[in-house]
C-alpha cells in the first residue's frame, strides 16, 4: 500500500509541476489542484497508514495502538477547504483576465510566434 500511495503522490506532483509551468491559465490552475491533491495525500500519509483503525476514541480508557492518528486527518480537512477556496478565487481571476485581455496566456498577451 505504501508503494501505491507513494507512486500516486509522485505522479500527481510531477503532473502538477509540469502543468504549472505551462503558459495557459487553465493549465496552471489544474496543475495547482493536482499538487494540492498530492499534498493532501502526503499529509495523510504522515500520520502513518492504517487500515480499519478508527480515529476517534470512545468513552473510557482505550489502547492508542488500535487507533489511527486523528490529527493529520483534521489537518487534511483544513487544507482541502483552504485549497478549494483558493482554486475558486483563482478561477474567478482567470475569467476576469480572460475577459480583460481576450487571451488565456498567463501574461495576458500572446508571445510573438
Amino acid at each position: 500500500m505504501e508503494a501505491i500511495l507513494a507512486l500516486g503522490i509522485g505522479v500527481l506532483t510531477a503532473s502538477g509541476v509540469w502543468l504549472i509551468l505551462r503558459p495557459r491559465t487553465f493549465q496552471v490552475i489544474i496543475g495547482l489542484s493536482l499538487i494540492s491533491y498530492a499534498v493532501n495525500l502526503f499529509i495523510y500519509a504522515m500520520g502513518r497508514l492504517r487500515v480499519d483503525a478508527p480515529p476517534v476514541v470512545g468513552s473510557g480508557a482505550a489502547d492508542p495502538a488500535k487507533f489511527a492518528d486523528p490529527l493529520p486527518q483534521a489537518l487534511v480537512l483544513t487544507a482541502i477547504v483552504i485549497s478549494f477556496a483558493m482554486t475558486a478565487l483563482l478561477l474567478m481571476i482567470l475569467l476576469t483576465l480572460r475577459g480583460l485581455t481576450d487571451t488565456d496566456h498567463v501574461d495576458g498577451e500572446e508571445k510573438a510566434p
Binding site: I20, F42, L71, L75, L94, V106, G108
Partner: protein, 544 residues
Amino acid sequence: MIAWTDHLIVAPIALPLASGAVMLMLGERRHVAKSAISILTTLLLLAVSLALVHSTSGTGLSSDTAPNARAYLIGDWPVPFGIVLVLDRLSALMLVLTAILGCTTLVYGFARWNRAGPRFHTLFLFQLMGLNGAFLTGDLFNLFVFFEVVLSASYGLLLHGSGTDRVRIGLHYVAINVATSLLFLIGVSLIYGVTGTLNMADLTAHIAAVPPGDLALLQSGAAILGLAFLVKAGMWPLGFWLPTAYSAATPPVAALFVILSKVGIYALLRTSLLFFGDEAGAAFHFADDVLLWGGMATIAFGTIGVLSSQTLSRLAGFCIVISSGTLLATVGTGNVTVLSGALFYLASSTLGISAFYLLIELVERGETERGSAPLTEPVFDDEYTGALEPDEGSEVGVVIPATIALLGGGFIFCSILLAGLPPLSGFIAKFAILDGLIGLQRITAPSTWVLIALIILSGVATLVAMTRAGIDLLWTPGEGAQTDLRLIEAAPVGILLALCLGLMIFAGPVVAYMEETARALHDRGAYRSAVTSAPRANSPKVSR
C-alpha cells in the same frame, strides 16, 4: 482562574474578525459607518497592542521579574493538544507595528481609495487579523492557517481597484502564493511525521531528541518550510514577484503590504531560533549559512534593482527587498547584539517604506496632473529640460509652493531614512547592526566583511536613486499649480515619519527593548516553560 487582562491576548485576533464580519452586513454605500467602525477597531487594536507591549516589558527595575512570554490557551485545552497563543516581546513588537500601519494606511485610504471597489474595510480588517494571528500563534499548523488568512485578504486587497494590470499581476501573485502554501504544508507535515507534534514549544524538546536516522527527514521538512517563509520574505532567487506585485497595488494597500514581507522574516526568526538553537543537538544552527549568503545575495539584488528602477513604486519595492535581505543576513549571523540591531532596523524600515509608498502617490499625482509624465512612462529622464527653461522670469521671485515644500520635505526625510544617513533612525539601526557585526568573534570571516560592505553600498545606492527621482519629480517646475494636498492624506505620512523621528529621539529605550527582545528570543527555556505552565481557566464559563 485567570485575570481578565490575560484575555487581552486574544483581542488582536477576535476584534478585527468581529468588526469585519459585522461590516459584511452593512450595505456597500454606507461608507461613513464602515469607515467609523474600521478606524475605531484599528485604534482599539493599537491600544491593545500597546497594553500588551507594556505587559511583556515590565516597568523600570522590575524588568528582570517580568515574564518574557505568556501563553493563552484557546478553549482551555491542555498544552500540547490544544491551540495556544503565545505573547512575547517580539510578537508584541510586531503587533504594535501592524496596528500603526493599520491606522495610518486606513486613514489614507479614507481619502478616496476605500471607494475604489467593494468590501475594502472588511478585507482590510481581515488582513490585520491574519497578521496579528500569525504573530501570536504558538502552533505550526495555526501559523499556516493565519498565513492563509493573510494571503486571502491580500488577494482581495491587491485586486482592489481592478484594472487589467492588477488582475494580471494578481493572477501571478495568487498562483505563486498558492504554490508556496503547498510547500508550507509539505514542510509542516514532514515535521509532524518526524516529531509527532506541531506545538512550537513542544517541538523544541522533541527536535533535540530526534534519532540520527530521522534527522535528514526533519531537516528537509524544516528546509521546505523555510522555503515557504523565504518566498514570503522575498529572498533573492525567490523574490522576483515582490516589487511587481507591490507596485500594482493601490497605495494604502502597498503601504500595508510592507509588513507582509516581515511576516516571513518573523516566522523564520521564530522557528529557526526555537528549533535550531544551541541545545537542538545534531540539528544545531541548521541553515544559518544559507540565510547569511542568501540575505547577502538579496541585498545585492535589491541594490541593483533600486538603481535600475524606472518608477518610484518599483523603487520602493526594491527597498523592501534590501530591507528583507539585511534582516535575513543578520538573522543568519545568529548573534544577539546583531539581532537587536536588526529588530530596530525592522521597525524603522517598515515605518519608513510604508510612509514612502504613501508619499509616492502624492508626489506622482501632482506630476501626472501637470501632464509632464504619465504614470506609465519612466520617471527618470536623463535629458530633462524642464529645469532649464529660459522663460522662468526673475529667479528671485520664485516661490516654492507650500505643497511642494511639504512633499519635498517628506521625500528628503524618507530618502535619508531609507538610505541610513545620520541623524535619523535608519542610521541608528544600521549602525547598531554594523556595531554588532564588528563585535563578532569570527570577524576575520570574509562573509562578515562582505555583509558590512553590502549594507553600506545598498544605502549609497538607495540615496543615489532617491535623489535622482526627487530632483526630477520635485525640482522640475511644471506648468500650473501643484494639486492641493489634503490633510487626510498628508497626516498619515506625517505620523509615520514622526514615529521614525520618535525612534531616533528615544533610541536609547527602544534599543534597550530590542536588546531584551533579542536576548529573550535566544532563551528557549523561558518560552517553553511559559507555554507548558500556561494558566488554565478551570471554570467552564470562560472556556469557549
